[in-house]
């Protein structure tokens, strides 16, 4: 069941588009904001609301890398692996982070604190290397700074 709050936020979005289907990406983001991820059940509930089939919605969900169809940790780390960050030391940062968290990209730490995901260029290349944790951007990273940040989010 979609919560009253989720339903209310989704319905507010409907006013911005002439067709219900257009809202499905925004709707999944709303659900994800509330629950952390988008479950099969949520897809079915959303399909009923938007007059689509669950398969249609899942087809959209699986295209977009920032819609999570599996549970994620409390904090999601998006580590930029694009070209400028690669030049500026991405490999070392990734090694440092994976060793420290004990997980590889695509995995969630056993304590459920962190999910580590790769991300394409974050558009802050003059301050590479960079990553995002949840909604926060962190730039000009080195291993010391990385340790400080990870500690802060524990």
């Amino acid at each position: 069941m979609l919560s009253a709050e989720e339903r209310c936020e989704i319905e507010a979005e409907l006013a911005h588009y002439p067709q219900k289907q257009a809202v499905c990406i925004e709707a999944m983001k709303i659900i994800q904001r509330h629950r952390g991820w988008v479950s099969d059940e949520a897809i079915k509930d959303l399909a009923a609301l938007l007059e689509m089939t669950p398969d249609e919605i899942d087809g959209v969900a699986t295209f977009y890398n920032l819609i999570f169809r599996k549970p994620v940790g409390k904090h999601v780390i998006l580590l930029c692996d694009s070209v400028t960050c690669w030049i500026m030391g991405y490999d070392r940062l990734r090694q440092h982070l994976t060793a420290r968290l004990g997980i590889q990209p695509g995995e969630t730490s056993t304590d459920g604190r962190f999910t580590l995901l790769p991300i394409v260029c974050l558009g802050t290349c003059d301050h590479a290397p960079a990553l995002m944790i949840d909604n926060d951007l962190h730039r000009d990273l080195d291993s010391t700074k990385l340790d400080e940040i990870v500690t802060k989010y524990r």
């Binding site: 911005h16 588009y17 002439p18 067709q19 289907q21 257009a22 809202v23 499905c24 990406i25 925004e26 999944m28 983001k29 087809g59 959209v60 295209f63 977009y64 890398n65 920032l66 819609i67 998006l78 692996d81 694009s82 070209v83 400028t84 690669w86 030049i87 500026m88 991300i119 394409v120 260029c121 974050l122 558009g123 802050t124 290349c125 003059d126 301050h127 590479a128 995002m132 909604n135 926060d136 951007l137």
Partner: protein
Amino acid sequence: MEQPLTKNIRPGEEPLDLKAYEQAGGYQATRKALQGMTPAEVTELVKDSNLRGRGGAGFPTAQKWSFVPMGDDAPRRKYLIANADEMEPGTFKDRLLLEGDPHQLLEGMLIGAYAIQAEVAYIFLRWEYKLAAERLTKAIAEAYGAGYLGHNILGSGYGLELHLHVSAGRYMCGEETGLLNALEGKRATPRSKPPFPQTSGLWGKPTIVNNVETLCNLPHIINNGAEWFKGLSHSQDGGTKIYGVSGRVRRPGTWELPMGTTIREILEDHAGGMRDGCKFRGLLPGGASTDFLVEEHLDVKMDFDSVQKAGSRLGTGTMIVLDDQTCPVGMVQNLERFFAQESCGWCTPCRDGLPWTAQILQALEDGRGQPRDLQRLALHTKLLGPGHTFCALAPGAMEPLQSALQYFKEDFEQHIREHRCPWR
């Protein structure tokens, strides 16, 4: 030197709110256009200014608009979209404009929408630009509150509805027709052209998609005229350009400079040259999908025609510098892996060909390269080049590869000869 696009931007500070933006001359162009000019006059002025699209392709903006059906018989509603899905690797110029002066973008959109008589506008923003989303949301609310959006703007009889759409990832969304599918709530695969979006775009209606920087130029063209705009430039293309440099230079960053500033001036005077201990080897002039340029090209002017003449593309105008401490094969491997990952899978050459190129390059990096690999890579640059794929993603991916094979051939051969990456 005039810097119209960034004159209101103060790094590290909040952007101008509506009142401050108005005090700085903001929304004067809206007044001028909506109250004193016909849509055709606005388009004509933009045509005279030689404004070319700043998203990468450099298509003349007014010409793009000119294909939109006008008059009472035109299909409705019509749409204007600001492409704020800045995802080209190495590109960080629209972020500056979105975070730094959101009202400038809204005003540019108003003028563009008025020129094509669009009823609805969307800003298509990438998810990661959180600060931009926050500031745009505030600016949109202010603009509605002051009557710059909504019905009968400034008593002109013209009305515009404007919404912010925040995306959920994928490079393909930046492609014009992929973006339209994303806005319709579908997978962001590209659409067949023709029909072009100008006649059949969002929900089959006439639609213009313009880059953020392109739109931000419009208020200044309306206020100051076409001759002034052309005078800002060192080349045929009008205006200033927001250039950027990233990589191992002393001062990476963005600068608004006359269109047609040379690579050398941007690299040495503004980015401060290479960091100590690093030597320049080459650069991608405008993002990941442009051809490498090297030492001999440093005096090339950074405008659409000059960079094309040098064998590359201006693209987004944000350069990525390759230094001698960085493996060129590894750099190209990183780029091709990106493109392989971001291929939407719609057409076979791109879906299957890009992973092959990335795998061959990885083999070279791991010391498993074969002499024939260089021919295989060269063949791919032809098979995935223009005319073989559904959209520009794969041809764009081939640009850094084909030019790397040309300029850094010795490095590729060394990987094969020594069965290792010399930089590891």
